[in-house]
C-alpha cells in the first residue's frame, strides 16, 4: 500500500523485508500450508511402495513419488512452506514488535485539540471551575476507572493522556513469537542434520529385510543422534538396544545407550472382550545404573529415562512355543506325529516323498467373537486359543490354515474349528469337526482311518449288500458281486475325493434320464456302508451299538460324513491339533528423543496466553485536552480502543458519563 515514490527510494533489502513481512504473504502461506496438508490426509502416507503401484499404476506412482506425496510432511517443498511461515512471522514481529512495544508505553501527550475533536468517541464540555481543579478531577476519575494517566503542560493547555490494557500489545508479541518458538522446537526435533546427511547419502536408508546386526554402518545411527522416533518389538524375556526408524520405503537402525528388556507383557480385557489395558514390565540395563531399573509402562503412561521416552505402542507374538499333534487324514493307520514349533518359525514335515514345510505365522490366546444366541442377542464370546500356519509345498505354493485349540459349542454339540484358504485375499472357509463323548477328536480320526482301510471297506460293503439282499435270496451272484463292487467303489471315492467325486462319477457314467434315481440309490448305499463302518468304530470304543445308538452318537455320524464329504477341499495330508502352548508375547515399543519438546510447549503456552491477551484485553486510551477559553475551561474528552468498537462505544458512554458527573456537569452535550 506504499506509494510508488516511496518504493523507488527503498533498498532491495527493505523491499524484501516488506514482502516477507506482508500480510498478503502471511495469508497466502497460511492457506497454502492448509491446502498442502490436505494431501497427506487423503493419500495414505508411508505405505508399501508396492501397494501404491497397485493403487495408482506405475506412471502416477512415479509422478507422486518424485514430488514426495508419499511423505508430504517431510518433503522439501512442504518444509519450505513451513520455513516461509517462520520467516514471515519473524519478519512481522521484527517490523511490528518495536512499534507495539512503543505503543504500550507511549501516552501520546501531544494530541492536538482538533484531532481529538475529530475522534469518533468524544465529549466536549465547558466548565466554570479552575483548570487545575478540572485536571485533578479528571485524573482522579480516570485512575478510578483503572487507567494510568500522564499529564503534559503545553503552552496554553494541558493534555491528560490515559491508557489501559497495554498488555494487549504484548499479546501480539507473545502470539507471534510463540509461532517462531514452536517452529524452532519442531525444527530441533525434525533433526535437520540427519535429513541433510540423507540427502548427501552420508546416511542411506536400508530397504532389505535383515537382522539388525548385519545392517551396514551407513544405515546405523549412533546414540549421539539428538532427535528421533523409532520402534522396536521385543519378545518376553529378550532385550534390545536399538530401535528402527521407519523412513519412506526403508529404515535406519538407531543405537541406544542402554538396553531395554521385556519381562512380561499383559493385555487385560473388559467382560465384553474389548481390550482394557496393554502393559509391559520393562527393565533398563545401563552401566550408569547401580542396578537395573524396573518399570511398568502402559498406554498413556510412558517411561522417561535419560531424556529418552519409552511408550507402549503395539504388541505381537514373540515366538510362542507350540506343541502340535499331526493326525493323518490320508492314511489307514492312525499314527499321530508329535511336533514342536515356534511362531514365525518353520517345521519341516516329510509326507511320503514330499518335503512339506509348516510355517507357523500366528498364535492367539484369545479369540473374542460376537455370537448371536437363540434369543437374538449378540454376545461376545471367547473361542479360546488358535494358531495360524501356512503349509508350503515344494513348489512354493502354500495354503493357510487356522485351527482352534478347544472345541466350540454349537447347538449343544462341540466341534473343532479349522479354517482354510488358498490366498490371503479370500476369507477362511471353516470345517466343523465333530467330537465324541469325551469331547475329543479321536473318534473322527478313527472313523477316517477306517474309511481308508481297503480291507475293512470291502468287508463292510459285503456286509451291506448281504443285508440289502436279505429278502432277495434268489439274487444272482453276479448282481451281488456287482453291488459289492459299486458299494466299495463309492466309499473309496468318497474317502479320497469327497462327495464331489461321486457326483462327477454319476455324471460321467449314467445316462441323464436315470441320474436322479441312480444318485438316490448310490447315496443310500454309501450312507449304509458308512453307517456299518461307523458301527465298527463304536464297537472298537467298547460301545454296544446293537443295543441302540445314542442321539449324540448318531448326530456325530451325520456331522462326520458331512465333514468327510468336504474334506477333499482341505486337501492336506494331516490335521494339526494344538495340544499345548507357551505364550510368548512381544511388546511393540516406541522410543523417542525429542529435545525440542519443551521449547514447543513453551511456545504453546505463550501462544495461548498471547491469544487471550489479544482478544480479551483491549488497549484503550482516553485523552482530556484541558484549556482556557473565553467562556471558562474547555475540556475535550476523547477515547479510542484498538478492538471491539461496539463494546467500547458503550464503555465510553459510561466512562465519560462518570467523568462528567465528577466534574459536576449534569447534562452532556
Amino acid at each position: 500500500m506504499q506509494s510508488n515514490k516511496a518504493k523507488t527510494r527503498k533498498s532491495t533489502g527493505a523491499i524484501l523485508l516488506e514482502f516477507l513481512g506482508s500480510m498478503n504473504l502471511a495469508i497466502t502461506v497460511l492457506v497454502t500450508i492448509a491446502i498442502a496438508s490436505v494431501i497427506g490426509t487423503v493419500l495414505q502416507q508411508n505405505e508399501d511402495y508396492a501397494s501404491y503401484i497397485i493403487k495408482f499404476g506405475p506412471f502416477w506412482h512415479e509422478a507422486f513419488e518424485s514430488i514426495g506425496l508419499y511423505d508430504v510432511y517431510s518433503v522439501w517443498w512442504f518444509l519450505l512452506l513451513l520455513g516461509f511461515l517462520l520467516l514471515s512471522t519473524s519478519v512481522c514481529v521484527y517490523r511490528n514488535g518495536p512499534t507495539m512495544l512503543r505503543d504500550m508505553k507511549h501516552y501520546r501527550l501531544n494530541a492536538a485539540r482538533n484531532s481529538l475533536k475529530a475522534f469518533h468517541h468524544n465529549r466536549i464540555w465547558q466548565v466554570q471551575s479552575l483548570p487545575d481543579e478540572a485536571i485533578n478531577l479528571v485524573t482522579a476519575q480516570l485512575e478510578h476507572e483503572g487507567f494510568k494517566v500522564r499529564r503534559k503542560q503545553h503552552d496554553e493547555h494541558v493534555v491528560l493522556a490515559a491508557m489501559k490494557g497495554g498488555i494487549n500489545r504484548l499479546g501480539y508479541l507473545f502470539t507471534h513469537i510463540a509461532i517462531v518458538v514452536i517452529c524452532v522446537g519442531a525444527l530441533i526435533d525434525g533433526n535437520l542434520p540427519l535429513r541433510l546427511a540423507m540427502l548427501t547419502n552420508d546416511i542411506e536408508i536400508e530397504t532389505r529385510d535383515m537382522p539388525a546386526s548385519q545392517v551396514p554402518a551407513k544405515s546405523v545411527l549412533g546414540d549421539d543422534n539428538p532427535a528421533f522416533r523409532g520402534a522396536v518389538n521385543i519378545s518376553e524375556g529378550e532385550s534390545a538396544n536399538i530401535v528402527f526408524l521407519n523412513i519412506r520405503d526403508g529404515y535406519l537402525v538407531q543405537k541406544l545407550p542402554f538396553a531395554v528388556e521385556l519381562k512380561d507383557f499383559r493385555i487385560e480385557h473388559y467382560p465384553t472382550g474389548q481390550p482394557k489395558s496393554f502393559e509391559s514390565d520393562l527393565v533398563i540395563h545401563d552401566d550408569d545404573l547401580a542396578e537395573p531399573l524396573q518399570e511398568t509402562i502402559a498406554v498413556n503412561h510412558p517411561l522417561v529415562y535419560k531424556g529418552y521416552r519409552i511408550f507402549q505402542a503395539s504388541f505381537s507374538d514373540g515366538g510362542s512355543k507350540l506343541v502340535l499333534k499331526a493326525w493323518p487324514l490320508q492314511d489307514d493307520k492312525l499314527q499321530t506325529l508329535d511336533l514342536k514349533g515356534e511362531v514365525f518359525g518353520k517345521v519341516p514335515l516329510q509326507v511320503g516323498d514330499k518335503e512339506l514345510s509348516i510355517e507357523l505365522t500366528e498364535f492367539r490366546k484369545f479369540n473374542i467373537n460376537p455370537v448371536t444366541g437363540e434369543d437374538g442377542k449378540t454376545e461376545q464370546k471367547n473361542f479360546g486359543p488358535s494358531f495360524t500356519y501356512k503349509l508350503r509345498e515344494p513348489s512354493g505354493e502354500a495354503r493357510e490354515f487356522v485351527n482352534y485349540m478347544s472345541p466350540i459349542e454349537q447347538d449343544g454339540r462341540w466341534y473343532y474349528m479349522s479354517g482354510i484358504r488358498s490366498s490371503v485375499a479370500e476369507p477362511f472357509r471353516y470345517l466343523y469337526i465333530p467330537t465324541d463323548s469325551n469331547v475329543s477328536i479321536e473318534r473322527f480320526m478313527n472313523f477316517r482311518a477306517v474309511l481308508l482301510d481297503a480291507a475293512r471297506v470291502r468287508k463292510a460293503a459285503e456286509l451291506t449288500v448281504k443285508d440289502l439282499l436279505f429278502d432277495v435270496p434268489q439274487a444272482e451272484e453276479s448282481v451281488r458281486q456287482g453291488m459289492i463292487t459299486t458299494a466299495n467303489r463309492l466309499v473309496t471315492m468318497y474317502a479320497t475325493g469327497g462327495l464331489a467325486s461321486i457326483t462327477a462319477f454319476i455324471e460321467t457314467s449314467i445316462p441323464e434320464e436315470e441320474r436322479e434315481s441312480a444318485a438316490q440309490a448310490y447315496f443310500n448305499m454309501l450312507r449304509t456302508v458308512l453307517g456299518n463302518l461307523y458301527i465298527e468304530v463304536l464297537q472298537a470304543e467298547g460301545l454296544e451299538p446293537a443295543k441302540g445308538v445314542s442321539e449324540a452318537d448318531s448326530a456325530f455320524f451325520d456331522d462326520a460324513i458331512s465333514v468327510m464329504g468336504n474334506l477333499e477341499a482341505y486337501a492336506t495330508p494331516f490335521y494339526l491339533q494344538l495340544v499345548d502352548y507357551e505364550h510368548v508375547e512381544a511388546s511393540g515399543l516406541q522410543i523417542t528423543r525429542a529435545p525440542g519438546k519443551d521449547t514447543v510447549y513453551l511456545g504453546c503456552v505463550m501462544l495461548i496466553m498471547g491469544i487471550f491477551m489479544m482478544f480479551y484485553i483491549q488497549h484503550r486510551r482516553c485523552w482530556a485536552w484541558i484549556g482556557k477559553t473565553d467562556k471558562g475551561v474547555e475540556i475535550i474528552f476523547a477515547g479510542s480502543s484498538n478492538r471491539n468498537e461496539r463494546d467500547f462505544a458503550e464503555d465510553f458512554d459510561r466512562i465519560s458519563g462518570r467523568v462528567a458527573a465528577r466534574l459536576g456537569i449534569n447534562k452532556q452535550d
Binding site: S37, V38, E145, R229, Y270, V299, K597, F615, R643, G657
Partner: protein, 389 residues
Amino acid sequence: MSLIQDTMQNDFKRTAYIKTLGIYDWLFAAITLYGTYYAWGEYQHLMDVYEVGILFGTGLSLIALGWLWKPSRTLMLAVAGLSLFGVMQYGSGLAPAETNFFLRFLFSSQSAIMWMSALYVLATVTYFIALFMESEFTGKVATAMTWSATAMGLIGLMVRWRESYLISHDVGHIPVSNLYEVFVLFAIITALLYLFYEAKYKTRAMGGFVLLVISAAVAFLLWYTFEKGADEIQPLVPALQSYWMKIHVPANFIGYGCFALSAMVGVILLIRERAGEGSYAARILPAAELLDDVMYKSIALGFAFFTIATVLGAMWANEAWGGYWSWDPKETWALIVWLNYAAWLHMRLTKGWRGTQMAWWAVVGLFVTLFAFLGVNMFLSGLHSYGEL
C-alpha cells in the same frame, strides 16, 4: 440506557466488581464449592493428582462462569439438582431404568437426551415463528425451550456418566468419549453460546438459524441412535483412558460450537445483504454490524479454545503415541481448521475486511470444521481410532 445514565451522573463511583455480587452469586459459589469439595471427598481415592486439579479447576471455572453470565447459575443449579435426583433414583444398579417413573420418562440419560432433542427442534421452529410473526412472547417461549433443552441435555450427560459406572466400575468414564456423546455435547455448547449472545445483543432473531445447526446435529444423533445403536455405553479403549480426554474434548467442542455459530450468523448476514437494505429481511433481521460483531466474537472465542484444544491434544498425543505431532489426519485437519480461522482473523483485523466476504468465509469454515470433526472419522484412517461410523 438513558435511565442508567441519569442515575450514573450523580454517581461517579465505579463499584468494584466483587461488590456487585449479590446474595445469589455467593450462594451459588458456596454450593458449587461444596459440591466440588464433596466430589473430591467422595472420589479422591479414584483420582490422580491431575484429575483432582481438573475437578477443582472446573469448580472454580463454573463459579466464574456463573458470576460473569448470571443466567447460567440457575441452569447449573437446576442441572446439578435434577442430575442428583436422577442418579439417586438409580441407587446402586441399572435395573430401575425400566421401572422407575422418573428414569423411564425423564432422567435416564436416554430419556433426557430424547427430551433435549425434541426441545431443540421445537425451539428452532418456535424461533422462526417468533421471527416471522415478530412476536416477543413467542420468542420468549423459544428461549425458554432452548434453556430447557440444554438443561435436559446436560442432565442426560451427567446421568450417563453415572450409568457408565453402574454398568461396571472399570467401564465407567466421563461421557465425552465417542461420537454419540460428543454430538450431545456439541448441541449443548452451541446452544449455550447462542443463549449468551442472545442476551448480550438483546435479539432473538438469530435463534432459528443457529438452532438449525443444532437441529441438524440432533437429526444425526437420532439416526445414529436408532440405526446404529450408538447410545450404548462402551468401555474405553486404552488410548482414551487419560485425564487429557476430560479437558481436550470439551475445549475442542467449545471451538466447534463457536465456529458453527459464527457460520450460521454468517448465513443470516448473507441473507440480509442479498435482500438489500429496506427489505423485509433487513427489517426483521439484526443490523449487519451486529451480525458482523457476533461472527467475529464467536470466531475469536472459538479460535482461542481451539488453540487450547489443539495444544492439549498435542500434549496428550505425546503421552499416548510418543510424539506431540504425528501428522495424523485428525491432527492435520485440526491444523487446517486453525490456519483457516487464523487467516480469517488477520483479514478482518489488519485488512479490515467485513460483511459478505467474511460471512462466506465463515460458512466455508464450518464445512472445513465439519470435515475435521466428522469427515476424518468417516473417510480417513489414522490413530484417532474411536468414533468410527
